[in-house]
Every structure is written in C-alpha cells, then in structure tokens.
C-alpha cells in the first residue's frame, strides 16, 4: 500500500472521530417540545406557532422535535425516559391515549405526567350546505328509519366515539363508517355520500368559510365564539360532550417550581393579543387547565376511552 494511502486513511480516521464526538454543548436553556406529528401535521403546526410566543414570555430557546413512528409510541418513550428538569415536554393529543390502549408501547400515557392544558380543538357535526338536512334533528330522523349514513375521520378515534355514543344516546341506527383522516371524509360529506360527519373545526374551516358546509352541532360544553348560532349537542337534547385536548406532558417527577412557572406563563400566553388572533384564526379554543386539574382530566379521559374501547370489543 502506498504511503499516501496510509496518511489519507489516518486523516479520515481523525475526521471520523471528530464526526462522532460532534455533540455541541449549549449553555443557554433549551426546551424541546416533542410531537409525534410529522412536520406540517396538526400538532407540529400548533407547536411551531406556539414556540416564538413561549420564548418571548418564558425566556430561553424553544425547539420543536418531531419524533414520529408508532403512532406516538416513540415520542412517549423518549419523554418518559428524559430527566424531569423541564428541558423536554410532549405535546399531548388524544392520540397518545388511543395508542397506549390499542397497542403495547414501551411507555404508555400513564408513564407521563400531564403538565398543563392549553387548548381544545372544537369538535363539530356538519353536513353539506346543499344537503337536504338543515338541522341535527333532520339527520337523526333520517337515521331513525335505518337509512342514515354518518362518517368519522378515523377508525379508532374520538370522532368515532362521538358518533357511536350519539347513536346510542339518540336511539337511532345509522351506518357509521370511518376514513383515513378528515379530508378524506370531508369529500364524502360534500358529495352527499354521508348525511353527517364529525370532525375538527380546523379541518373543515376552508369549506365552511366558502359556504359549502353547514354546522349542525358543537360536541362540547359551550358554543363556539366564532359560530354563536350553532347550538351544542346538550342544548339539542343529547347529553354528549367531548374535549379534544392540546397540552403538554413531561416525565414523572417534575418539581413544583417548574410546574408553577408553566401554570403562571400559560394564562398570560393565552391572553396575549397577537397570539390570540393567531390561534382564533386556526379555530383553537383556549382551555387552560393547571397541573392538578389536567392530571385528573387525563385520568378520566383515559378511563372513559378505555371503557368505550372495551365495551365495543376493540380491545379485550
């Protein structure tokens, strides 16, 4: 082997070592917000819009990390194993509860500690603007004849749960079918394949603004400020409300000071006029919950979901 070759080999090995040890130390406080959503997905967009405002109010550097895979299982595992020093949080959505219940991930939702809640995604029932159904009652009457067709965005999801429970509580027997996401289902509402769909307000906003959809009911405790004319399900005589949460969770064992800092910052954040305009445009509903409330809420949400999945035989 020529000498030149050996020297270049050594140089390469040196570079190799440098490449491996390339972890850079960051003196500033860095807070990583982990989401299971891909860049551009629902939770990702939510976090990226949140981050500059958090940095302004709380100081430090906030970054968003997409830990995809396993429908949230990987993100949960990453957060559960992290040090509870306030440097790593997980953006919670109902997905992490469903994944915990539907499969056997290495860390479940109960292995994380809910920190605070920020928002709710308003869930609505809607139909096409040119459909023959103008009210929820029309849709329910149709379903009473055994002809109704309802849609939910995903097979094992909060929307499915809403539709199944509505069917039970209203005592009607529609066919309920599921899709791969809100967009897929939206088409089937627009082309009148479905009488009614259940989904997030955000997903249907463009069609709603264009006057192609009609809201039938809000599946929450209160009416939406953007649509004061649309009554909740409870107001329409069906005792059903869900809250699709968006908040943060961290590893177990976070200190009281850490929790208190977030509990103080989030209400200020939600009142911030600039941010407020942004999240109202994105159809998010402010829903601050302090640590204690959030933990109890999560426990109840998990128990309710588990009961639903068990009762319907999705899990044994």
């Amino acid at each position: 082997m020529p000498v030149g070759g050996r020297i270049s080999l050594l140089a390469l090995l040196a570079a190799l070592a440098a490449a491996c040890g390339g972890g850079d130390a960051e003196p500033r406080r860095v807070v990583t917000l982990v989401t299971h959503s891909s860049p551009g997905g629902g939770s990702d967009v939510f976090l990226r819009e949140l981050v500059p405002h958090l940095a302004r109010l709380m100081g430090g550097t906030f970054i968003v990390e997409n830990v995809q895979g396993g429908s949230g299982a990987k993100a949960m595992a990453a957060v559960a194993q992290a040090k509870p020093d306030g440097s790593l949080f997980y953006a919670t959505t109902p997905t992490f509860i469903y994944t915990s219940l539907l499969s056997d991930p290495s860390a479940r939702y109960t292995d994380l500690e809910p920190l605070v809640n920020l928002f709710f995604d308003p869930e609505v029932l809607y139909t096409a603007a040119d459909s023959r159904f103008t009210t929820l009652r029309d849709v329910l009457d149709r379903a009473r004849t055994g002809q109704g067709r309802w849609g939910a965005a995903n097979p094992a999801s909060l929307e499915r749960q809403v539709m199944e429970q509505l069917k039970q509580k209203a005592g009607v027997s529609p066919a309920i079918t599921t899709f791969e996401g809100g967009g897929d289902m939206l088409i089937n509402v627009l082309n009148h394949t479905l009488d009614m769909g259940a989904g997030e307000l955000q997903e249907i906003r463009a069609q709603l603004d264009a006057g192609r959809l009609r809201l039938l009911a809000v599946v929450g405790d209160e009416r939406l400020p953007q649509f004061p004319g649309v009554a909740t399900l409870k107001e329409q005589g069906v005792d059903l409300a869900v809250r699709k949460f968006r908040g943060l969770a961290g590893p177990k064992g976070m200190s009281a000071e850490l929790v208190a800092a977030w509990e103080a910052a989030v209400p200020k954040l939600l009142d911030d006029p600039v941010y407020r305009k942004r999240y109202m445009d994105n159809s998010l509903q402010p829903g601050f919950m302090p640590h204690g409330d959030y933990a109890r809420f999560m426990e109840a949400f998990g128990a309710e979901t588990e009961a639903f999945l068990r009762q319907s035989g999705v899990i044994q």
Partner: protein
Amino acid sequence: MSLDELIAIVPAAFGGVTWGIFGGALPGISPSITMALLLPLTYGMDPTTAIVMLAATYVGAEYGGSIPAILIRTPGTNAAAATVMDGYAMTEQGRAGEALGISLYSGFVGGLFGLGVVVLLAEPLSTVALAFTPPAYFALGVLGLSVIASLARESLVKGLMAGVLGLMISTVGTDPVTGLSRFTFGSPELLSGIPPILVMVGLFAVGELLAESGERGWHQAAPERARIRFPSPALWRRIALPQAIGSVIGAFEGMMPGGGGAVSSFLAYNEARRWSRRKEEFGRGSPEGIAAPEAANNTVACTTLVPILSLGIPSSNSAAVLLGGFLLHGLIPGPMLFVSHSGVVTGLFAGLLAANIAMLIVGYVLMGPCIWLVSRPRPYLTAFIYALVVSGVYAIETSLFQVGVALAFGLAGYALRYFETPLLPMVLGVILGFMVESNYRRALVLSGGDHATFLQDPVSAAFLTVAALFLVGSIAGHALGARRRRGAELPA
C-alpha cells in the same frame, strides 16, 4: 406579479428541485419526507417563496425517484416502481444515459401538462375529486390490481400469488373499520402498517444484493454507459403516445385524494403497453415503458394541487406537507384562496413553471455524476447500495425496526427470485391493498351490505368493467400463448 417576486421565486424553484431530486433519489426518503425535511427552513421565508420551494421539491422528487430505479433497480419513491422494469433493462444494455434522458424529458412534458391543467381548470376539475365515493375508490384499486396480469410475464399463477402475498402484507396494522390491531403482535411500530417503500427497497435493492452475492470479483461496469442522450427525433415520436397516456392518467389521479403517483404510474405503464405497437419490448428495455410512468408521476406532482387549492383537501402525504406549509404561513387553502390570496396562487403557478424548467437543467447536470457513481467496481457499488438502504430506510420513521423489516423483505425478494416469480405484483398488492379493503368495506357499510352498490355507482361500474375486460383479455392471451408454445414444440 412584480419582478422582485419573480427574482425570489426562481432561486426557490431551483433550490427546491435540486433538493427534491436528491431526496427522491435516496431510496426510502419519499417525496413527502423530502418536503417535510425542508419545511423548517421555509418558516422564515415569505409565503409565496416557501410554497414554491415545497412544490418544486415535490416536482424534483418525482424525477429523482427514477434515477435509482433506472440505475440500480431500486425505486427511490413509490411512484418510480413501474420505471424499474424497462429502466433497469436499458441500463443493463448499456443505455443508462438514454433511459435517464427519457425519464427526465417525459417528466418535463408531464409536468407542463399537469401545470396547464391546474392553471386552466383547477376550479371546474375540483368536482372530479367529489365524484369519488368509496365504491369508486374500490373499483380504482381493482383496476390497478388488474395490471398484475400484464406484470406476470410467463406465469400468471405465480404473478397472482405474488399479488395476493402483497395484499396480505397490506393487512398489517390498524383495521380500517373497527380500529382493531391486525397482525401487529402488540408492536406500536406496526400500528400504521408496513410502508410500501420498505417492501420495495427490500424486494428490489436488498434482494438484488443477496442474489448477486454469489458472484465474486472486481469486474467493472461498461464505460459506454456514461453517454447522456436526449431522445432522438424518431424516439420523440415513439414516446409521444405513452407520454400523452401518462399525462392524462396522471392528471386524473392527482386530483383524487388517495390516488397518488404510484397507482398512476402502474396504470400508465399498463395502458402504454396495451396501445403500443411494440408490446414485446416492454419489460426488456422499452423507452415507452419509462416514458409513460414518468410522465404520469410528474403530472401528479402538479395536479395534486387541484384538490388542495380548490377544496383545501390534501390528496397524498406530499400534499399534506404542502398543506402544512400553507397553514404555517397563515394561509388556509380552499375555495377562498383564489380570492383572498390570489398573488400567492399566481406566484405558485409561475414557480411551478420555473420548477419544471429547473428540473430539466438540474437533472441534466446531475446525470453524469450519477452514472459515474454506478459505474464503480461492483463490490463498491454493492457496499454503498447497502449503506444507502440502511441509511434511507431509517429515515422513514427513524426506526431500526424498519431497517430490519426491509432486510426481511430482502430475504423474501431473494426467495421470489429463486422461485422465478415477478416482484412487481407484490409491490402493487402492498400499494393497493389498503385502498381496496377499506373502501370495499366502507362501501358495504354505507349500502347496508348490498354489493349492487359497486354497479350502481357510475364511476365504479366503469372501472370494474374496464378491469374485467382487461383480465379476460390477458387470461385469454396467456392461454393462447401457452398453446402456441406447445404447438411450436410438436414438430420438433
């Protein structure tokens, strides 16, 4: 549009296309991952530049995917799977440069056609997406599966077996109706199913590495390969029809949510073969077999904008990332976008034109280096394809588990080669299985279990008729071919 805006758009288009070709050419890194990786960089840009850059990435990635399909028999993207057959056959004949030229040129033609469709007809065509009900999607899937008959070469039975195995693989994951986990063994990694690209990279790339590992030695590839050629006038005329077929099929596929580039490339390949005057060359290095699918997938990259712009509904993963790009810049795509932000829409159209031209230029420049890379001595090539596979597959979900799955499919690919069974029917089964099953069951839920729904829906009825005619035709063809072979032996 002002000159300033134009000045910002052109570099964005070039940057996006280069990035896209690059990501598309790495097996495992799909167009949507390539776009998603770019997304954080676009936060600081103005909305038009950001959207143009993302859309240009998609355009570039669709061409990029054909580079490894042609050169190393490994599709870089789902939509390049159909290009593997004739592309790699041409490479083996020392015509790699020609094959890449045809792919690039056909992609350009398809892209321009798609752009024309989007600019002129976006609003009226948005109704196409609305015509697609669950029975129609089911029928589209069946039509796609009927292509297996023409991919099956000598043995229809073995081709169908591979197709059914592919359908079986597609059932892994969350059940589309009940949400039950099927064949996941409790693993969250399998909840969302096995991505088709894993199967393709495993069957083609890893399978090939295993199959050729019996040959030892340092023989080098033919140096003649490095000649880059654009189609000659005679070839232009020959590939015009397949390009037209690919463009039209791609234009429609792009508009339907869930259709996507892969289905359109296979259908385009199949139709191009059916209408070709040189059917026998297909699968053995036919330029038409590259022109049709590559025109189709680049048309899709443009017409996928129709449902996004006019309905606000993403029709594929890549479109979903684009939608995220819109949302991050405070734009809500949908019917109102043309009114509220018409500047962004015009800018996007101008950017796509620039992107298609950029693709031609960047693609041409990159061809030489790519061909040089694959003409290295065989052992190096083997080793670096292996490295590319383990690195690229990991990127899908940053998962070593999935690297393992790809290796397992490599073993399956090795077995299928041993049993002389074509690989593409399995790929097609994996790509279409979920669409077929979920929409079959959805349609039956909606019809109350009545199978007549598939004939009552006009779109579904039309697709199913075409699929049935095609299947009967090719089974008759196979039988006739077998009889003729037997007949030819008798005198001897």
